[in-house]
């Protein structure tokens, strides 16, 4: 009982302090429990047991400073857990050699029906199939989300991957994604937007996914290779999504004419040896060397490769881009409908710092909008966030195999990682994720997790709640504190308290005489499947 009062008192103080935070614009509010839980729910994949106390001890300000410098955090334990995923460190060329696509003759046999898909699968040992590359990436993402100390870095990797989405199921992209995330997204996740943009534009994964590698000046004839003699020409796909989704935003003021002109500027940006080492190359012979007009600016003829870089630099510095990126960041960290005042300030930070992601995050976390009571629990967790946060909440540990199991769970709830076909990536809004089938899948994941049915994910509930021998009500109280941190509504408390009366939940000892031991697994699943835990 005292504990519950304590929780209520803490919530009350946290509300009062949120007000204080509103007044103190530049700094972070004092580290009361509610504020810490809020910060952890937005800047990490959710608190683990002990995290709130840790942040209270080191202070929110210095905790955030450390999260913004992930390279200085000791993450060896997480790295150990990734050792069972050998593809993560391989180059594109090594991946192509280690996980080769079926040869032409075999593919022809499958196409003609001579060989069934099943036969094809049986010929390829499971650990040599190209699909393995994606499976390992998915597992790694889940392992990192749960286990890594570099939580904010991981949150930003997810954010930027969706922003600069590529689909692993499209052609050669499967062999390129590992490098794309490792060499492009991760190094720049907390870096500068213009550099991140430049790196995505040159990576084979993006060049292939949005077809730019094939885009050429009109009447270009392929001179050598398997497509020798074939005519090629302009392809608008990358140019359009570059402006609509990567930089300016759909309302950023570009026209169809701009799309065509930008596409012309990027002709010749292609992939050398796409089925081997697959490196970026600029091929002057494919390039449309004529003059161009882009967003009202004239580019002189003969700009060559530098022309594409000029376009990227101009787009990265365009005010519409600052606003578009700011809006998406505020949506991720504050609310589905981003408060315009905060978007303005983050956009101003973008412009003042040349798109410094850290500075934009600092602006967000120091804002009254971030700490506003309206923002608390305002976001519905994406399936990936939900799965990772559930494992973290119960102090679960993830082995290699567990990474695969958690990735499958996120897919079942609606978010198969690296498998978003449209270039928008996975959405970041509640209405995309709240529906009947997905909600059931969330509940079923909660049950599988707490009942120990996910191979490679270990959960020690008795340790989480300490002494299970006390009265069932206090067991429930400890579960709620550990998983929901005092954010359970009165309704949820009373429903779960009523559950304790269920004979199947209120399990007796075998001889019916001993103490009542509630079904902690089911109770924990109910808490993880509760409405409160779907939010962050």
């Amino acid at each position: 009982m005292t504990r519950r009062f304590l929780v209520i008192a803490l919530v009350a103080t946290s509300l009062a302090l949120a007000d204080a935070g509103t007044r103190a614009r530049a700094g972070l509010p004092a580290a009361d429990e509610g504020a810490i839980v809020h910060a952890l729910s937005r800047l990490t994949f959710g608190p683990r047991p002990g995290d709130v106390a840790h942040v209270r001890a080191v202070g929110l300000e210095s905790w955030l400073a450390r999260q913004l410098e992930p390279a200085r955090l000791d993450d060896r334990e997480c790295a150990d857990r990734l050792r069972g995923l050998p593809t993560l460190t391989l180059s594109i060329g090594d991946l192509q050699r280690a996980y080769p696509r079926p040869d032409k003759q075999t593919l022809q046999m499958v196409r003609s029906g001579e060989m069934s898909r099943r036969d094809l699968m049986e010929r390829l040992p499971a650990d040599k199939r190209p699909a393995r590359i994606t499976a390992e990436l998915q597992a790694a993402r889940l392992i990192r989300a749960v286990e890594s100390e570099q939580q904010l870095q991981e949150v930003m990797v997810d954010f930027w991957f969706n922003h600069f989405n590529v689909h692993s199921g499209k052609g050669e992209v499967r062999w390129y994604v590992t490098s794309y995330e490792r060499d492009v997204i991760r190094p720049h996740a907390l870096g500068r937007f213009p550099e991140l943009l430049r790196a995505t534009a040159r990576h084979p994964a993006m060049l292939f996914y949005l077809d730019n590698w094939l885009s050429a000046r009109p009447d270009f004839v392929v001179a050598a290779g398997p497509n020798r003699g074939r005519r090629a020409g302009l392809n608008e796909n990358y140019a359009r999504e570059l402006m609509e989704l990567h930089t300016l935003g759909v309302d950023g003021g570009f026209t169809q004419r701009d799309v065509t002109e930008v596409a012309r500027a990027f002709t010749g940006w292609t992939i050398d040896r796409p089925r081997d080492d697959a490196r970026f190359v600029f091929r002057p012979r494919m390039h449309d060397a004529g003059g161009k007009v882009i967003l009202g600016t004239r580019l002189a003829a003969g700009g060559g490769e530098a022309e594409g870089d000029q376009v990227l630099a101009r787009l990265a510095r365009h005010p519409a881009t600052a606003r578009f990126i700011a809006g998406k960041l505020v949506r991720r960290f504050v609310a589905d409908e981003p408060p315009p005042t905060l978007v303005d300030r983050v956009a101003a930070t973008f412009r003042a710092t040349d798109g410094d992601v850290k500075e934009m995050l600092r602006t967000i976390v120091a804002s009254p909008e971030f700490w506003s009571p309206d923002a608390r629990s305002a976001k519905i967790k994406k399936p990936f966030e939900y799965v990772a946060s559930a494992v973290r909440a119960v102090g679960g540990r993830v082995e290699t195999q567990g990474g695969h199991a958690l990735a499958r769970a996120a897919a079942e709830i609606g978010e198969p990682l690296y498998d978003a076909q449209p270039p928008t990536g996975h959405p970041d809004r509640a209405e995309a994720w709240v529906n009947a089938g997905a909600l059931l899948a969330r509940m079923n994941f909660a049950l599988a997790l707490t009942q120990g049915r996910l191979a490679g994910v270990s959960v020690d509930l008795p340790r989480l709640i300490g002494d299970a021998a006390g009265p069932p009500e206090s067991t429930l109280g400890r579960l709620l504190t550990a998983i929901l941190h005092g954010q359970a509504t009165a309704e949820t408390r009373s429903v779960l308290t009523a559950q304790l009366g269920e004979p199947q939940i209120r399990r007796q000892t075998p001889d019916d005489r001993g103490p009542v031991i509630p079904d902690v697994e089911k109770l924990a699943a109910l808490v993880i499947g509760s409405p409160e835990f779907q939010r962050r």
Binding site: L214, P218, I380, P422, N444, L447, L496, Q499, R535
Partner: protein
């Protein structure tokens, strides 16, 4: 805007106060039972090339604009060529399973159909088509949700269902629409005593605030019970229907199961991606042909499976826009404007390609490059929804639109 949803939730709460089964069964019986008209909307996401799907071989500018990817003119008896419809248009050969429907007048095509908005953004164009308000992003609900909301009570929890992992924009809003990607997995599954867990979760979502999350939770459990008692997931395909293995066909198969299970389905939604053929689109064979084959097989099997029940069902296909008339530099097509949409099922005047053909000569093209729109999609959607589902006036499914329903595809 929340009226129906709130009523439904209030109903669900009352349900729990009394003993659950009798009230529920009574309501289910009222809501289901009688056979209802069903509208199935199928979205081809990514902008299908209408000029390859329903080929205007009679327009001489067609093959001139596409050196590598134009389909050859149909030749009678040669199943490798397109299937002639009326001497001017032909069906892509991969859609051959739909040809018998054309001949029995159960399939109509509306060509040069699309949106008056000129965006070539997939995401905006899909949003506009699904909200039903071209150029307006703030519309809170989807056109199918508004359609379902106009149907008379009693509403089943299965009145409006989307097959897939997320609820599409078309069905967002006040209709209490369900999204599910598997009928079989639509239940709480536990190591033991799943019923206890189900009851626990259900109670958690019955309490508290009336927000999206709780509302969805309440509707979910009502639907779970209903689906279990109807054993919908166990209904096998009939009449020798072979759906194949595509995800789209699986969606269509499950829609057929819901129709056969008589759970009160009135509006269904399925979608299929992979139409964004910027590179190596192919002609009679190839990438687009493979997609169309899955598409045609799924639709064809659906019709065959339902047999006589198709007299109550209309399928309407749509896509956010079409593709450039000319092929691009990579034997593909870029984002265009108008496309072709299909209507199939009972009570339609099929065997005809509707819509004024604007022509493919360069001077007839929209912005000099794309097939022009001559039928506003809202005219088609209104005609199909209002006539098939017998929606009483006023005909206001599309806010801000005052056009005339058409083009006359409903009998």
């Amino acid at each position: 805007m929340l009226t129906r949803r709130v009523m439904l939730k209030a109903g669900a709460c009352a349900l729990l106060a009394t003993a659950v089964p009798p009230r529920f069964l009574a309501r289910a019986a009222g809501a289901a039972g009688a056979r209802r008209k069903v509208l199935v909307a199928v979205f081809q996401r990514g902008a299908v090339d209408g000029l390859s799907m329903v080929v205007p071989h009679g327009d001489e500018a067609y093959s001139a604009a596409r050196t590598a990817i134009a389909l050859r003119a149909p030749r009678r008896g040669d199943s490798a060529t397109a299937v002639d419809l009326d001497g001017f248009f032909a069906l892509h050969p991969a859609l051959a399973p739909l040809a018998p429907l054309w001949h029995s007048r159960a399939l109509a095509v509306v060509h040069a159909c699309g949106s008056p908005d000129t965006t070539r953004s997939h995401f905006d164009a899909q949003d506009y088509m699904e909200s039903g308000t071209p150029g307006v992003k703030s519309t809170p609900d989807g056109w199918l949700a508004r359609t379902a909301g106009r149907l008379p009570a009693p509403a089943s929890p299965f009145r409006a269902v989307a097959l897939g992992p997320t609820l599409p924009r078309s069905l967002r809003g006040d209709a209490g629409a369900l999204a599910m990607h598997s009928l079989e997995r639509f239940d709480v599954r536990a190591a033991s005593e799943a019923a206890v867990a189900r009851k626990g979760f259900e109670s958690l979502y019955e309490q508290g605030v009336r927000d999206l999350l709780h509302g969805t939770g309440r509707e979910t459990f009502e639907a779970v019970r209903m689906l279990k008692s109807a054993r919908a997931a166990r209904i096998p395909p009939e009449n020798g229907a072979d759906y194949g293995r595509s995800t789209f066909a699986r969606s269509m198969r499950q829609i057929a199961q819901l129709i056969r299970a008589d759970v009160g389905l009135e509006v269904a939604f399925a979608d299929m991606g992979g139409w964004d053929t910027h590179v190596a689109q192919g002609a009679e064979e190839g990438q687009l042909a493979n997609r169309l084959r899955d598409f045609g097989q799924g639709l064809g099997a659906f019709v065959q499976d339902l047999g006589d029940r198709m007299s109550d069902v209309v399928v309407l296909t749509m896509s956010e826009f079409g593709r450039t008339v000319a092929e691009n530099g990579n034997r593909g097509t870029d984002h265009g404007h108008a496309t072709a949409m299909m209507v199939l099922g009972g009570g339609i005047r099929g065997g005809k390609v509707y819509g004024r053909w604007p022509g493919l000569a360069r001077e007839r093209l929209f912005e000099g490059r794309d097939l022009a729109v001559t039928t506003d999609f809202r005219a088609l959607f209104t005609e199909v929804a209002v006539r098939h589902l017998a929606i009483a006036p006023p005909v206001d499914l599309f806010p801000g639109w005052h056009g005339t329903p058409g083009p006359g595809v409903m009998a």
